[in-house]
């Protein structure tokens, strides 16, 4: 399982792409937390879907990543990027082994 794309939405009931976006840009949790003026623990809770952010924090994150809010947060699971861009489905790990 890809740890950066939670298959379960956690306590918040929200899926998000924060971990993917952060990895893509090479930003640490601490850097993002400093930019958002929150505790770095909160970034971890957000990434795991255990915390539903305030509208202000969600908009700040969108502004920081220069993306619309709906590209970062969703009530439905996000499609993996490979599937979205190339139309390929994730391979079954059992078939591979």
């Amino acid at each position: 399982m890809n740890p950066s794309v939670p298959s379960e939405p956690g306590e918040s009931g929200l899926y998000n792409r924060i971990a993917v976006l952060r990895a893509e840009r090479g930003i640490s949790r601490q850097d993002l937390a400093d930019a958002m003026d929150v505790n770095y623990q909160t970034i971890g809770f957000l990434e795991r879907g255990d915390y539903s952010p305030s509208l202000k924090l969600a908009l700040s994150l969108a502004e920081y990543f220069s993306l619309p809010v709906e590209a970062i947060f969703s009530r439905k699971p996000f499609q993996p990027l490979s599937q979205q861009v190339y139309g390929t489905k994730p391979s079954d790990p059992e078939k591979q082994s």
């Binding site: 640490s28 949790r29 601490q30 003026d37 929150v38 505790n39 770095y40 623990q41 909160t42 971890g44 809770f45 255990d50 915390y51 952010p53 305030s54 202000k56 924090l57």
Partner: protein, 165 residues
């Protein structure tokens, strides 16, 4: 919430929830022991008063009463998740803390009523102290319960990046 706090010069790591729960149990056991010690002492003696004062001051110092006071350090920047959790803990604690005062108030009314006849003077003495013992316990809960709830419910925390460096 920070992953550690300093108490009497000792750095106490509270990143693990299990560890925090033990800590809360330990603190409340110590408070209960102090309350019981007062109960068996002559409550109106100098030592009795000193013990009450120390107990309440310690509870105030550890718990802080308000959602962000006390020994449990909060994030300096005013983290929104932490604020919400502390507000909720205060709401939960003060929703029920009146239940801690009720037994003390009831005991005052019942045990200090004019028509109570006691079987023995020793029993009379013990029952006379009971409302005060309950009242002290209620005051301790009033000061400490919100932070105890935060400590017991916050999930395991990741190691503090800044402190690890």
């Amino acid at each position: 919430m920070k992953t550690a706090f300093i108490f009497l010069g000792i750095r106490i790591n509270i990143a693990s929830r299990a560890r925090r729960r033990w800590l809360v149990a330990l603190i409340f056991t110590a408070f209960a022991a102090m309350d019981l010690t007062w109960f068996w002492l002559d409550g109106k003696s100098f030592v009795g008063w000193l013990l009450i004062a120390a107990l309440i001051a310690l509870a105030r110092f550890i718990g802080g009463r308000t959602y962000e006071g006390g020994l449990l350090p909060s994030y300096e920047g005013g983290d929104e998740r932490e604020r919400i959790r502390r507000y909720y803990a205060s709401y939960l604690a003060y929703n029920y803390v009146d239940l801690a005062f009720l037994p003390a108030i009831l005991a005052f009314f019942i045990l200090h009523g004019p028509d109570i006849k006691y079987a023995s003077p020793a029993l009379h003495l013990l029952l006379e102290r009971l409302p005060w013992g309950l009242l002290i316990a209620a005051v301790i809960l009033f000061y400490t319960l919100p932070q105890a709830i935060v400590l017991c419910t916050e999930p395991d925390m990741e190691p503090d990046v800044k402190e690890a460096q």
